[in-house]
């Protein structure tokens, strides 16, 4: 990876890296730790300290700025580590499982931070096992299963690999589903009051409105009709044939 640079040191200055297993000098204060790592990335000492304080303040960690890292909570220490990855304002940021171990509030805060980086023009590469994070934050995804890349492209293209799902609820006989050829392998679930819920994949290219129109034409008593677009989770299962080994 050269980022158009010939000098390795300059490449390092433009990259921020957050490893999965986090670690900082436990006896250092957050300000010193962030300034030290920013200094290694070429930020002058005074400016590094200024940025460290500014970043900590923005993340609500002003009070912890001059305490030893060993006295901080895990979530706070993780934030400090992330800030130390960003203090030199890198063009490319690599985050290995950045959300692991964070509570929902801190996850939300981290998401905002990542969006901010992207808005600034930085490229953010992060790994995650939580598809919702990737789906919410990424433009491009690489899906890896069993050490093999199974997909590389835009999120929308990945989602398109999985079928849309149609769900119908109402009081009708399962045999009536024969009139809905757009629905593939429908699963039937019996509900209270003699109603059933039918869930099935919509054939590729088939319009959902056509299925609805047919259902009404057959006089089916439909109380609920829902079309669900596939998400990245569905796409991952489809693309890996549902056989991705647990990491």
């Amino acid at each position: 990876m050269t980022l158009g640079e010939t000098d390795v040191a300059r490449v390092r200055h433009r990259i921020g890296f957050l490893p999965e297993e986090r670690g900082l000098y436990r006896r250092m204060t957050p300000v010193r730790a962030i300034a030290f790592l920013a200094g290694l990335k070429g930020v002058p000492a005074r400016e590094a300290r200024r940025r460290a304080r500014s970043l900590l303040e923005a993340q609500g960690l002003s009070e912890a700025a001059d305490k030893q890292i060993r006295s901080l909570s895990k979530g706070m220490a993780q934030k400090v580590q992330l800030l130390s990855t960003l203090a030199h304002e890198p063009d490319m940021v690599m985050l290995d499982e950045p959300f692991s171990g964070l509570d929902p509030v801190n996850q939300q805060s981290l998401e905002m931070l990542i969006r901010g980086l992207a808005a600034r023009g930085a490229t953010v590469i992060f790994s995650t096992h939580v598809m919702q994070h990737a789906e919410r934050l990424c433009d491009q995804v690489v899906l890896v299963a069993g050490g093999r890349k199974v997909f590389d492209g835009p999120v929308a293209a990945a989602r398109a690999a999985a079928p849309r799902t149609l769900m119908l609820e109402g009081v009708f006989l399962p045999s009536a589903l024969d009139s809905l050829p757009e629905l593939e392998a429908p699963a039937i679930e019996h509900l209270d009051g003699g109603a059933i819920r039918v869930t099935g994949a919509l054939k590729p290219g088939a319009p959902a409105q056509e299925a609805l129109r047919r259902a009404f034409a057959q006089g089916l008593d439909i109380s609920r009709f829902e079309l669900r677009e596939p998400n990245l989770h569905d796409a991952f299962i489809v693309l890996t044939d549902g056989a991705a080994p647990a990491r």
Partner: protein, 428 residues
């Protein structure tokens, strides 16, 4: 500040801010001062014991013993306060023993008050004298040597005088002492003085100092790298600096820590030496400055430290726990003990074939060459061993850089396959 210096500075501050650093700094001067002053302080604070001499000898040897014990010592205090034996005279050794024992047990006090601490009973036995020591405690044996010497000398003089040797002649004979002098063509003024032995002592001191620095510095480096690897800090550092910068920064930082401690110790030592013996201090200074010895010692010191530090930093990168580090350190410690065994021999035989041979084993070279400084090794030997240290250190670095990267990024135990594949990539 460049990255190497930043890493070194952080490393230095990390150690300087620990209580252990300050303990190390102060412990040696305090320890040495205690060793030097403790016996004097103990002697000054101890009360002078009360001793009684029961003299049953016909020659009256007790007077000589009394004079010796009552004479003021180096600290101005007598060895003992000689008191008249309570209840004298005594008929025999057994009588004296039986009647004085209650005083030693503390059951009775001396007539003028105070307790009796020891009794020496001198009694004739055959053609010699028996001396029975009785003391309050089983460990109270401090007068035995002095009393034994006095009695031995008195008996010797007595026998010789009985053989017809006049006391004047005896005194003249006793005053005869051989005049022994050491000479060497290498000595500055022919006769060997302390000043001429100083280079050997300085060499041994430098060798020992290097050994201590390598031992303490290596431990610090190993621990530092091992902790940073296990806490994944090393991965972050590797994304911010090159391997030579990280290794160099750590080695320099720890060198600065040990250097600070040594400088503090040496400054105190120099101040003490200058105040107590300015002439000796001047001689030591001259010895270190003469014949470029400061450069000689400096080169082997720096080369030796760098050679071992590189090795230990690399080992540290392959360890995640102190147990793993200990496993790898064990064999190194065995190797390190070899120069320790032989360095002191260089004081008496710096050019012994075995010591010269050991100087050519790279891991021992810095220690042995420093210790052999007194023999002024030939220039070719200095140049060749110097080149060898530089070559070995260069080779170490060549191996250590990929090994460090491989070890730092690997997880789990030391893996020979990972290590050699890193080397193979380096060779390719």
């Amino acid at each position: 500040m460049n990255r190497l210096l930043m890493i070194a500075w952080r490393e230095y501050l990390a150690y300087v801010r620990t209580p252990g650093f300050w303990l190390s700094l102060l412990l040696l001067p305090v320890g040495l001062s205690s060793i030097a002053l403790a016996p004097m302080a103990i002697a000054r604070s101890s009360p002078v014991p009360n001793v009684t001499i029961v003299d049953l000898t016909p020659q009256g040897l007790g007077h000589a013993v009394e004079r010796t014990l009552a004479a003021p010592g180096e600290n101005g205090k007598p060895m003992a306060r000689v008191v008249a034996p309570p209840g004298a005279p005594f008929a025999s050794r057994a009588d004296a023993t039986a009647r004085l024992t209650p005083y030693l047990r503390g059951a009775r006090e001396l007539p003028g008050g105070g307790r009796l601490d020891a009794v020496a009973i001198l009694a004739p036995t055959g053609d010699t004298v028996a001396v029975d020591f009785w003391s309050r405690d089983v460990t109270g044996r401090s007068f035995e040597g002095a009393v034994g010497d006095v009695v031995r000398e008195a008996l010797r003089r007595d026998r010789l005088e009985k053989q017809g040797v006049a006391p004047r002649v005896l005194n003249a004979i006793d005053s005869l002492q051989p005049q022994i002098s050491d000479f060497s063509p290498k000595a500055e003024r022919g006769r060997v003085a302390l000043k001429d032995r100083l280079p050997g002592l300085a060499g041994l001191a430098m060798g020992m100092l290097l050994w201590m620095v390598v031992l303490t510095g290596a431990g610090m480096l190993l621990t530092s790298v091992m902790e940073e690897k296990s806490s994944r800090i090393l991965e972050i550092l590797l994304s911010s600096a090159s391997v030579p910068e990280i290794m160099g920064g750590k080695i320099l930082g720890v060198a600065a820590v040990t250097g600070t401690i040594l400088a503090f110790w040496m400054t105190i030592g120099a101040c003490v030496l200058v105040s107590r013996s300015p002439a000796l201090a001047a001689d030591v200074g001259n010895v270190l400055l003469a014949h470029g010895r400061w450069a000689y010692f400096g080169f082997y010191f720096a080369g030796g430290y760098l050679m071992f530090a590189t090795l230990y930093v690399t080992i540290g990168a392959f360890c995640e726990t102190s147990r793993e580090a200990q496993t790898l350190l064990g064999p190194m410690m065995i190797v390190m003990s070899v120069p320790l065994l032989f360095m002191s021999q260089s004081l008496t035989a710096p050019d012994a074939p075995l010591l010269r041979a050991l100087s050519w084993i790279p891991l021992f070279t810095p220690f042995m060459m420093a210790a052999r400084a007194a023999s002024n090794p030939p220039l070719w030997e200095i140049a060749a061993t110097g080149a060898m240290i530089i070559g070995v250190t260069g080779l170490e670095l060549w191996v250590a850089i990929p090994a460090f990267r491989s070890g730092a990024l690997a997880t789990g135990r030391f893996d020979l396959r990972t290590f050699f594949s890193a080397l193979a990539r380096r060779s390719a």
